[in-house]
Amino acid sequence: MTDFPADSVLVLLEVTPDGALAKTNAGLLGAATGIGSPVALLVAPADSHATLAQGAAALGAGTVLTADADPGALIVPIVDALAAASELVHPVAVLASHSVEGRDAAARFAARTGAAVSVDAVAVERDDEGIVAHHSVFGGAYTTVSAATFAAPVVTVRQGAVDARAEPVATPAVSALQVQASGRPAAAVESFEPLEAASSRPDLRGAAKVVSGGRGLGSADKFALVDQLADALGAAVGASRAAVDAGYIPQSHQVGQTGVSVSPQLYVALGISGAIQHKAGMQTAKTIVAINKDADAPIFDIADFGVVGDVFTVVPQLIAALEAKSK
């Protein structure tokens, strides 16, 4: 295979450590389809190529390039594959997830090739001048648009931010990519410990509804109240940094400046004061609900519906009322 469309967009598929396609790929391929023809790069163990390529096609990848992964070497093999794919495809843009691994690979690729990078994009678009990326910065207080002065930009896409989805492709063109190892030194990955067993709750990133708990929950045991309301609403579970620091819940649930940024339809803050760094991760939610016993808590300044009250009395009543209505 030597011919790629002139508007090819190279998409670095995100593969989870247990060898599956990450949920972020649907948004990546959706974004890519909006600006050109996606060419997906799959870096994964050889025996999973066929299945994963078919999975990528179902998300809109018409062309899939495959390369072998070396799970024992951190990032470098992915960058080598990305460099080989870019050389072959001559894309108009390279898209990767703004996940830890995606942004590491995108960063090294950009440094290696001297490409311009647009980070943590919430949307990508093509205008008269070329490809532009949209960003939500300073905790959503501003929106910016960035572009490369020329040549193909490397764009990392915020996880869960792109709702666009591509049409499934029935039979993708799959081909093995020739990769020349760069020989750059890589850290050794000695072992991997997955996060808590995948729950049936939605992922925080990209969730339509989020229920978050703060220090006001008081203990890890009592934090279960947040889970209960989340389940009653079909929501994902989030937390403030204080709740994470207190050990109520793992860091992966932290919402805010240094945690996850969410933009759900509904955000419910329980026992969260509304520090500016927390608001930075959730103030672009469509509807914000807050329950806090301090009437002066800053979270009320941005809440569409605020309840001054104790979470331990208001929330059980709320759950009961929701359950009664759904019967």
Partner: protein
């Protein structure tokens, strides 16, 4: 052991940070500038190592406007023997690729066994510079570590990703980035503050590092427009008198949110 800690001055996240709508760059007048908290934690991890290993030479490095000198001195007050401050008007608004080129050149010049940075800054939030530096310096990267162990000839740690944690290690020299899971920084002592005033700070320009900051034959990332989002207004606020849970349920159902 020579350890270079990369530090960044950022607008204080406790303030209402502002962006110039003309340039798309942070408005430095809007709020106070502080040392990014995650960099303080990274520095603390290195200082804790140096407490046990007195032979450690710690150099702080930053690329920032001249005005960042006060922040450099504050960081020096916590510890470290010297600093390198790359300050050049031509680097104002430098994109990631150029910033990485400049810092890589400075790191090569200073020399290092270990480069340590915060995982990502609170203003740019890219989290990509450490990996870019590893690439340019031909050194292994150990990024997003929530725990780190430094040995004489190796570094190891726990890398936290969205999917779990990996145990990673590499021989030195290496590039490491640390997350906010690490302990908060110590408080500077009076002695530290006084000593910091006399610590050597080398100031360099891009030209000193052999970097041409004004090349137009390489692609750069630019901000083409910036806009402020309208502030959010507060809505209804009720005080619980025994039925707030029920009222909230009604609100959610009426708005098709439950």
């Amino acid at each position: 052991m020579n350890i270079v800690v990369l530090i960044k001055e950022v607008p204080d996240t406790y303030g209402d940070r502002a962006l110039s709508l003309e340039t798309g760059l942070a408005d430095r007048e809007a709020v106070d500038a502080v040392l990014d908290e995650v960099d303080e934690r990274a520095l603390e991890a290195v200082l804790a190592y140096a407490d046990e290993h007195p032979q450690t030479n710690i150099v702080l490095m930053t690329m920032a406007p001249e005005s960042a000198m006060a922040t450099v001195r504050k960081a020096l007050a916590l510890g470290a023997s010297s600093a390198v401050h790359i300050s050049d008007e031509l680097l104002l608004g430098a994109d990631l690729t150029l910033t990485a080129e400049v810092l890589a050149a400075a790191l090569k010049r200073t020399g290092f066994d270990l480069v340590i940075a915060g995982e990502k800054s609170t203003d740019g939030s890219a989290g990509m510079l450490p990996a870019m530096l590893a690439e340019l310096l031909d050194a292994p990267q150990l990024t997003s570590l929530s725990a780190v162990t430094i040995a004489d000839d190796r570094v190891a740690g726990t890398r936290s990703t969205e999917y779990g944690t990996a145990t990673v290690s590499a021989p030195l020299p290496a590039v490491v980035s640390l997350t906010e899971a690490l302990p908060a920084a110590r408080i500077a002592s009076f002695k530290g503050v006084m000593a910091a005033k006399k610590k050597p700070v080398e100031t360099l320009t891009a030209a000193d590092l052999g970097v041409d900051a004004e090349r137009y034959d390489v692609p750069r990332s630019i901000v083409v427009s910036a806009a402020e989002r309208p502030p959010r207004a507060a809505g209804v606020k009720i005080v619980d008198e025994g039925d707030a849970g029920t009222q909230l349920a009604e609100y959610l159902i009426a708005n098709r949110l439950a």
